[in-house]
Symmetry: C2
Subunit: 466 residues, 2 copies
């Protein structure tokens, strides 16, 4: 079989590149289709193997260690004697994550999905809808009527670090260190950097952070400023700095900053953003438009240039969030099956959480964005410490910030920083998704007294519609 | 001045009996009214002084102590060295609660509310809308055009204990013990009993529980059964037992059960329910109907027998919940000001939480109630342990149970047992209050991955409407 003068070993109805969200496409509705799934790494993609899921397992242990350390404010004299880092690695990966990844691969290779072939080598386009990949040592060229690109993203490594030859870690291997480092220098100030900073500091590692701007710089100002102050108290933070040199000796890695200071630590974590994997796929040979590795798609998930090519998740989406990738996957799955009645990629009211300390979660606009968008707004910043459950927590820093449109009563943005932020936000996601009027939300339902959601109740009541 | 041949010292527009929720009635709208507030105890009532608020402050410390003890499952070797019980008492009462109660009283006695007089002695009716009370040593008889009864409830003490002469504690004094007891026997299996059982056991006191039936017997079966199993592992539980004798020596209190066994402990806590305070007010002299101390009211909060007499909160409400008392207060406040346009007492979708361990929260019907009400239902019990955040928690017992009407898609009941139950429930209260269709709630909004509300998402997705 040939396609554009390339010799093709096998043709499929559908090729799916990547097994993060992409692997959820083939359900019973696809049983009559021949499908190739390509995965050069572990089944499950970034989220399962090196992202959201294992990080939360580390974060939760870190939360508890930190709470134990801070329990004297509550009248509890408690201490962390030791952290069993290898035990955590074992619990997270050997006993949980790796089994799921392996199970996922075995399922796709097994008898229950006889219509699916698995390819385990890197893939690149050699012609439209035609990819060269492989199975073990065997190179194979395969083509399909439809192709779904769901190959994700990878850590971006600044040139000065990549070219230094210095040993560094990323989210892909930092959680599998054989022992907990005494010190770590984290390059970056985004959510991955802040989650690992919390994890390591809480577990007893000395943490230095080097960031070009403020930490979590995209946050609403009322969260960003106190977050940065709290970070200064906890970590050795070098903010607004660029790196001029990186070196290494037997004991440690050293980073020289543009103000001449040198930051040294036993290990280095690079968390300076992510880059979509499209640049590794020879997309141009498939006729697929992209920008810096990000596949260009329309509102339905279709390549803007190549017919019957789709993309979802980090390779095409600016969100870099698993729940967005999953939602895009559901849209693309629907659209593959219902070309006459397609659904748009759902990009409204996208929430996010940062599982650092304090925990952060938000949905919708920041106050500044709401003003810039021309809304006549009302804003309330409610402290956890001013509701009864916050008293119980002896909480000093938690806040909920709500932003609503004065004319419509609609919620424009919700921002939480503090315990259970990622749980509290979900109610506000509902409010936004269903277009409820915040004046009714405040008063037309019960709020359990004295539970933590009274933070939200008081924030809602504090919105001024006069 | 006289009223029905009783000599009246002063007549008011409004008398409010009790300063729990009742104290929130006089706002600016009442500035032109003469008001008497009667409070024989501490300002703020049960919730502030001996109820929901201080208990949560003990519970949160207990939560943390228990989490520390159980942290080895997460790879953290931590321990509680000691509990500073007097420090907790000081923090909760001297530094917080007592200051608020005192501030509340000073405010009402002060210049900012010149239209309000405070009476600080026990009150009882001597004629319709006429009460005998006092200020310090001075007895006063006062009357009013309108009377609001908000005098709450008190612990119910079984006769066998009351008559034994044995020293016992209730929620009113147990939190102010000068030192933490080595052992405690708790009489009762309701929410107050279960909150204190958790507090004391977590802080290191040996806890025995004597209950006539199952613990938290009103819970949905799918929560009640595992809760009772967990309680058996943690406490010395004597279930389905009546008390036949109570005695005391210098060291301990001993309780003899109807099976002959004897349960002894350093202190005894009686938490066998609450009784409304109407029986202490000579209501019949005010022409006010009541049953076992509970004032009979109509849907607007008016006495069913006495004109211009209102009641709210535990003295008249079967709910015994602060958020209900507050909601009833808002209705009565509105009705006092708007007699031509009254609001009903809001008794729909009333949620509750039990801040024990595991934490419990619920709203709406149990499965059994929904079936008995004739609904065609769909039910899903979702384990925390089957979502990613539950993996991070290494949670073994958490569940969310949702019950929906198959025909309407409306949520009939939501029941949570596990971490953050009282936060998770709030979103379901919103769903119920606004009549959202659970099929839309599951799919028409984002759920942050991997945050704890995925327990709810999966419970919703598990409801079967086929």
């Amino acid at each position: 079989m040939t396609s554009n003068s390339v010799s093709v070993d096998q043709h499929y109805d559908l090729i799916i590149l990547g097994t993060g969200s992409g692997n959820s496409i083939p359900g019973p509705e696809f049983d009559d289709k021949s499908i190739a799934i390509i995965e050069k790494g572990a089944f499950g993609g970034t989220c399962l193997n090196v992202g959201c899921i294992p990080t939360k397992m580390y974060v939760y242990a870190a939360d508890l260690a930190l709470e134990t350390r801070e329990s004297s404010r509550l009248g509890i004299d408690a201490q962390v004697n030791a952290v069993d880092w290898p035990g955590i690695v074992n619990r997270v990966f050997d006993q949980r994550i790796d089994l799921i990844a392996k199970g996922g691969e075995e399922y796709r290779r097994g008898e229950q999905t006889p219509n699916i072939d698995v390819y385990d080598q890197h893939a690149r386009f050699v012609a439209p809808r035609t990819l060269q990949t492989g199975q073990g040592a065997q190179t194979k060229t395969i083509s399909a009527d439809q192709i779904v690109l769901a190959a994700g993203s990878r850590p971006f490594i600044p040139e000065i670090i990549a070219e230094s030859g210095v040993h560094f870690h990323t989210n892909e291997d930092i959680m599998r260190l054989t022992r907990q480092p005494k010190s770590i220098v984290i390059i970056g100030g985004g959510y991955i950097a802040m989650e690992f900073a919390h994890v390591f500091e809480a577990l007893g590692t000395k943490v230095s952070i080097i960031a070009r701007s403020e930490l979590l710089r995209h946050l609403d100002t009322d969260l960003r400023e106190p977050f940065n102050e709290l970070a200064d108290q906890r970590y050795d933070v070098h903010r607004g700095r660029n790196i001029t040199a990186v070196s290494q000796n037997e004991q440690e890695v050293s980073v020289t900053l543009d103000n001449g200071s040198i930051v040294s630590a036993e290990v280095m974590l690079v968390a300076t953003g992510r880059t979509p994997n499209g640049d590794e796929l020879d997309l141009e040979l498939g006729g697929i438009e992209s920008t810096n590795g990000r596949v260009s798609i329309d509102e339905f998930g279709r390549s803007t240039s190549a017919q019957s090519v789709w993309a979802l998740g980090d390779i095409s989406s600016p969100y870099l969030l698993k729940h967005v990738a999953n939602a895009e996957m559901r849209a693309v799955r629907h659209n593959l099956l219902n070309p006459e009645n397609m659904k748009k990629m759902p990009h409204e009211h996208v929430p996010a959480a940062v599982f650092t300390h304090p925990q952060i979660a938000y949905v919708g606009m920041t106050e500044q964005e709401a003003r810039e968008a021309g809304h006549d707004i009302t804003v309330k910043v409610q402290k956890y410490g001013d509701v009864a459950y916050g008293w119980a927590m002896e909480d000093q820093s938690g806040i909920a910030k709500l932003i609503a449109d004065k004319n419509t009563g609609k919620l424009l943005g919700a921002h939480y920083m503090g315990p259970q932020a990622s749980t509290l936000i979900q109610q506000m996601i509902t409010v936004m998704a269903f277009g409820l009027d915040v004046r009714d939300v405040a008063t037309e339902q019960y709020w359990i007294h004295p539970a933590l959601p009274e933070v939200t109740e008081n924030a809602l009541l504090g919105l001024d519609f006069s």
